[in-house]
């Protein structure tokens, strides 16, 4: 089935659900899993200096995410590599999937905020459109009955 699974993991509830599905699929197919967190660019024009997180806070945040993914995987008995990279979410996920030769990307579903998002598409749309492997989109909890 799927042997090399990449999951987009930003610590959000949707991403946690995505990680859960990725690990479940990995257990049944003895797959390798990569958990990728993406550090998106800082705001170009911030009103206050406090809007820009200190570099150490950012590092701590991503270390926490990586550790969370590792401990979930260890509990499920799945080998997982966690990494954080800089870039735009969809581009970085698709690019990383190519690098590790993933045959499945698992991501959380994101809603649309407005007309502009509708036209530009969500992160999940862009990953689905540009990925060169299959993509599993996991819905947010609010959709579940």
């Amino acid at each position: 089935m799927f042997r090399r699974i990449l999951v987009g993991f930003d610590g959000s509830p949707g991403a946690r659900r995505a990680l859960h599905y990725a690990l479940q699929l990995a257990v049944s197919s003895e797959s390798l899993v990569w958990a990728l967190a993406v550090k998106e660019p800082l705001p170009r024009y911030a009103a206050r200096a406090a809007e820009l997180l200190a570099e150490s806070d950012v590092r701590e945040h991503f270390e926490r995410l990586e550790n969370e993914a590792r401990s979930e995987a260890a509990a499920a008995g799945v080998p997982l590599q966690a990494e954080a990279v800089q870039g735009h979410a969809s581009q970085a996920i698709v690019e990383y999937a190519r690098q590790v030769n993933a045959d499945l990307i698992v991501i959380g579903q994101h809603g649309h905020g407005g007309v502009l998002d509708r036209m530009l598409g969500s992160t999940s749309d862009r990953v689905v459109d540009t990925a060169s492997c299959s993509v599993l989109v996991v819905p947010s909890e609010r959709h579940r009955s």
Partner: protein, 149 residues
């Protein structure tokens, strides 16, 4: 993991890729498998009712053949397959079927964007991904070799 899987099948290469993946998933996870084919091309402004009937008969025959092939593949793998044909907009109908039948996975093929208009309007897969209340697997054609295992 997935108890009920719904796959959109209209006979294109992309939809066959999706079907083969759904079949493998269904076999491995013991899931109930359903195929839905959507008749999208009935004429809206026909000169006579016969024109609509003729098109509908043509599409019915076409989908019967496609679903027959799908059944043969399912039988080979020992999977029980349920088929449905509905009329309407592909994404809308697939989403409605998934909701009504409490499916927990929809599998669709990825066809790519052939022109800038599709890029703006989004593909059937995009619309399903945006509005589905369950997991959606968009199967990429490059995964064909994996599917056939």
């Amino acid at each position: 993991m997935f108890h009920k899987i719904l796959v959109g099948l209209e006979g294109s290469e992309a939809s066959w890729c999706a079907y083969r993946r759904a079949l493998t998933l269904s076999r491995e996870h013991g899931s109930e498998l359903w195929v839905v084919s959507v008749e999208e091309h009935l004429p809206r402004y026909a000169a006579t009712i016969d024109e609509v009937k003729e098109e509908q008969e043509y599409e019915n025959t076409y989908f019967e053949r496609v679903q027959g092939q799908a059944r043969e593949l399912a039988e080979e793998q020992g999977v029980a397959l349920h088929c449905r044909t509905v009329v309407g907009h592909a994404a809308q109908r697939i989403l409605e079927c998934a909701r009504a039948g409490s499916f927990d996975l929809i599998v669709v093929g990825h066809r790519g964007h052939s022109n800038p208009l599709h890029r703006l309007a989004g593909s059937t897969a995009d619309r399903i991904v945006d509005h589905a209340q369950c997991c959606v697997l968009v199967e990429h054609p490059s995964s064909v070799s994996v599917n056939s295992t």
